[in-house]
């Protein structure tokens, strides 16, 4: 038994909340009540060892990934390594860029192995792993701001769509970003893949040497940061429309490249109230009308049953 961990149902009596050190998961599942109970039990027993597993290899996971890096021993650490490997030769990235998505994926896998679920999600601070069985789907909504939620766009994840992971990255989040995006949301085949890709795209939303942007070597803020002395964004002043568009375009260009390689399904890139969308190849989502939409800073899983079917 791990004495640190919090394992509890949220006050709604339906969702499970798991917390251990910096890991904080909100979990939901639909299915027969005894199946959901079994899934939650499995989630909790998988969860309690995760932080210790990761910390065992923390120095390796915090080191820049390269083709010569040793492959980690742990199952979750291995998924983190795999998720960042497509990027490791072209930029600085450590396996930590995929930690949240990999943890979400592992807990979801424990749940679906233990129980028959219609659908389930594990939300690890905005990095979400999804399970949908035939005939069921999730509607994922994007809201403007976490403190003043107003749904601006949503899309359905059905079993036929190659999306089981949703991740959001940006400088305002808990992790450091090299870019200036308020939020980059990525849909990908798995949660760790989405997590790593969101980091890469968010880093690309940038205006190098812009005077309104305050950057600080990561270790000045957090002495043991895996980003060493890379300049991380701490503040972004007001930008003009042209600058916003330029930064968004830089991010969207990278996102399209990742999409062309088949590493991500779609992305939304947000900066100071503006949004650029990188739509899926065959568009099943409803965000297609305009390139510029109201602001987005977070994603949220809508727990209500899907209201509409996806269409190709």
């Amino acid at each position: 038994m791990n004495a640190r961990a919090t394992i509890r149902l949220l006050p709604d009596g339906r969702r499970l909340h798991l917390n251990d050190g910096p890991i904080d998961l909100i979990i939901g599942a639909d299915g027969a009540s005894e199946e959901v109970a079994r899934a939650y039990q499995a989630a909790a027993s998988r969860f309690v060892t995760i932080l210790d597993e990761l910390c065992e290899e923390l120095p390796l996971l915090r080191t820049r990934a390269s083709n010569n890096s040793p492959f980690p021993k742990g199952q979750i650490a291995g998924r983190m390594s795999e998720a960042v490997s497509p990027y490791q030769e072209r930029c600085f990235i450590t396996p930590m860029a995929a930690v949240a998505g990999a943890v979400a994926e592992a807990v979801l896998a424990a749940m679906t192995a233990a129980a028959e679920l219609q659908r389930a999600y594990v939300n690890n601070g905005g990095d979400i792993a999804l399970h949908v069985s035939p005939g069921h789907s999730y509607t994922v909504g994007m809201i403007e701001r976490a403190d003043t939620p107003s749904l601006f766009g949503k899309f359905d994840v059905s079993p036929t769509l190659p999306v089981r992971g949703v991740a959001t990255s940006g400088w305002r989040g808990r992790s450091f970003s090299l870019g200036i995006a308020d939020a980059v949301t990525v849909l990908a085949a798995s949660a760790p893949a989405a997590d790593a890709a969101a980091t890469i795209v968010a880093n690309a939303v940038n205006l190098p040497d812009h005077p309104a942007i305050t950057r600080v070597p990561a270790r000045e803020v957090s002495p043991d940061s895996d980003l060493l002395d890379l300049p991380v964004t701490r503040a972004v002043g007001a930008l003009c429309a042209q600058e916003i568009f330029e930064a968004l375009k830089a991010g969207a260009t990278v996102a399209r490249e990742l999409q062309a390689k088949g590493w991500i399904h779609a992305a939304a890139v947000c900066l100071q109230g503006q949004v650029l969308l990188v739509e899926p190849p065959l568009d099943p989502i409803e965000l297609k009308s305009a390139d510029i939409l109201p602001p987005v800073v977070a994603t949220e899983v809508n727990n209500a049953p899907s209201q509409r079917n996806t269409h190709a």
Partner: protein
């Protein structure tokens, strides 16, 4: 690595990530930070909202508040708790928040600070008849001594955990485990404890205790003798003899005053143990976790052979524990030996009634701590005056908005039921010591009179506006509103 860090950097040991945290920054979890070189838990600052708990609408009564002169407006009823407020220890500085607000026309001040308590502990009341261990024996968590067994109370066993001798007087590991155990109990988490020469228990505030793997369901309604008295009438006529098995006082219906009153016939029953008064027996067995808090699993073990001259074949005997949890029915055979039979339906109701009358068995956790001089100095330049004011009931002491009991005598030593406090109200520092919220509420005029830090008093509105990591919670309806003006003021009748 560590030597290259500035000297104000600390290492957090709250989880295995072991973050290095610079002065004024937080760790990876965003919940522990380095404040003045101390590792401090930084949960959101909790503000209690009275309207939320009363279910009154949260929209303002007047739509255009600004156009009203405000004379008759009731100010919003909010109470700034110390949870997440931070602390100024060990500096002799004013408390982090000294908040003024007007309540029912009276100017009140609340001094809000998180206290760091090395002198603290919890008292556990565990509702069980089972024997948890001999009085004075050590209670252990993860093998480390964290407290001891103290008195048995009516239907409950008390444990005393923590205290300065376990926190800082023993080995480093003893202190760390004690701190962790207290923190978990205070924050409502489940804790596993073992008692030397006694039981293994799992306890959490407000939940049924688990003794040797078995969950307690009910608290006994009374001792065996009292149970006989309460239910004698319901048994009369349905059965010839009833024994209520209890480690404290086992009751026997036919011999008991209640049976005599009903004119019950002698049965020739003979009980192990020491007879106290008719129908009441002490020490029928050893204490344990079996029937009625004894060590027996077969109730016949407490019976000696029936007296042949008095007993008769087919005599009907009910044996039941004080909580109705255990029960069995016997009839004597031709040689007057009790033989267990199917439990008769007519008796089931009485057994159920015993069980119904037993309240749910719970563990309750009461936190007890003493506010030291430097904490009191955060409220006033002359700490003893605060003590004095508390003693004269001019100052109310709350913990996270929950009512406290302040011990008579010197100092400010208080107790609070942790289940009346908001969730996760406690933190710790690696000293080791617990961090607990404490608020002192008094009239503004009294605060000035006792040498309060008047220049640091801020209005409720100011505090509500500037505080960033703030979370508003409904106040618990069963708690008195902590800001209610204290009854009388200095010099008033």
């Amino acid at each position: 690595m560590p030597e290259i860090f500035p000297k104000d950097t600390i290492r957090c040991d709250a989880c295995p990530v072991l973050c290095y945290i610079k002065l004024g920054q937080t760790g990876a979890c965003d919940r522990y930070g380095n404040i003045a070189g101390q590792l401090v838990r930084l949960d959101p600052h909790i503000v209690l909202d009275r309207a939320k708990s009363q279910g009154t609408p949260l929209v303002p009564f007047l739509e255009h508040e600004g156009e009203w002169d405000g004379a008759l407006m009731k100010s919003k009823e909010m109470f700034v708790t110390a949870i997440g407020a931070g602390t100024t220890y060990p500096d002799y500085k004013p408390a982090p928040f000294i908040v003024s607000s007007e309540v029912d026309g009276v100017d009140m001040v609340t001094v809000v600070t998180e206290g760091i308590f090395s002198y603290c502990g919890v008292k556990l009341k565990i509702d069980t008849d089972r024997h948890l261990g001999p009085e004075r024996n050590l209670v252990r968590s993860k093998g480390e001594p964290v407290g001891h067994v103290t008195t048995a109370e009516y239907g409950s066993q008390m444990l005393s955990l923590g205290g300065v001798h376990h926190l800082t007087g023993g080995t480093k590991s003893e202190g760390r485990v004690t701190c962790e155990t207290l923190l978990d109990l205070c924050n409502g988490k489940e804790v596993a404890l073992t008692i030397d020469d006694g039981a293994s228990i799992t306890v959490a505030a407000g939940k049924p205790p688990i003794v040797n793997g078995q969950q307690e369901e009910r608290m006994r309604v009374g001792c065996g003798s009292a149970t006989i008295g309460m239910f004698a009438k319901q048994w009369f006529g349905k059965v010839d003899e009833v024994v209520v098995v209890d480690d404290h006082i086992t009751g026997v219906l036919s011999e008991h005053q209640a049976g005599k009153m009903l004119g019950m016939r002698e049965t020739g029953i003979s009980i192990q143990g020491r007879r106290s008064t008719p129908g009441r027996y002490f020490q029928v067995a050893q204490p344990g976790t079996g029937w009625g808090g004894t060590n027996i699993s077969d109730p016949l073990a407490i019976l000696k052979p029936f007296k042949a001259k008095i007993a008769w074949p087919h005599l009907r005997l009910l044996m039941v524990s004080t909580t109705g949890e255990h029960f069995a029915y016997y009839e004597l055979d031709e040689s007057l030996r009790p033989i267990e039979k199917d439990f008769p339906e007519p008796l089931r109701e009485s057994v159920d009634r015993i069980r119904e009358n037993c309240e749910p068995a719970l563990t309750t956790v009461v936190f007890m701590a003493g506010a030291g001089g430097s904490l009191r100095a955060g409220a006033t330049e002359n700490p003893v005056k605060l003590t004095d004011s508390v003693k004269r009931s001019l100052t109310r002491v709350t913990a996270g908005g929950a009512p406290t009991y302040v011990w008579p005598g010197g100092g400010i030593t208080f107790m609070v039921d942790v289940s009346r406090m908001p969730e996760n109200a406690f933190g710790y520092v690696p000293t080791p010591a617990l961090v607990a919220p404490i608020e002192f509420t008094l009239k503004k005029s009294d605060y000035a009179a006792l040498g309060g830090h008047m220049e640091f008093v801020r209005t409720l509105d100011e505090v509500m506006r500037e505080k960033q990591r703030q979370r508003q919670l409904a106040s618990l309806p069963e708690n008195p509103w902590p800001l209610k003006p204290v009854p009388k003021s200095e010099g008033e009748p």
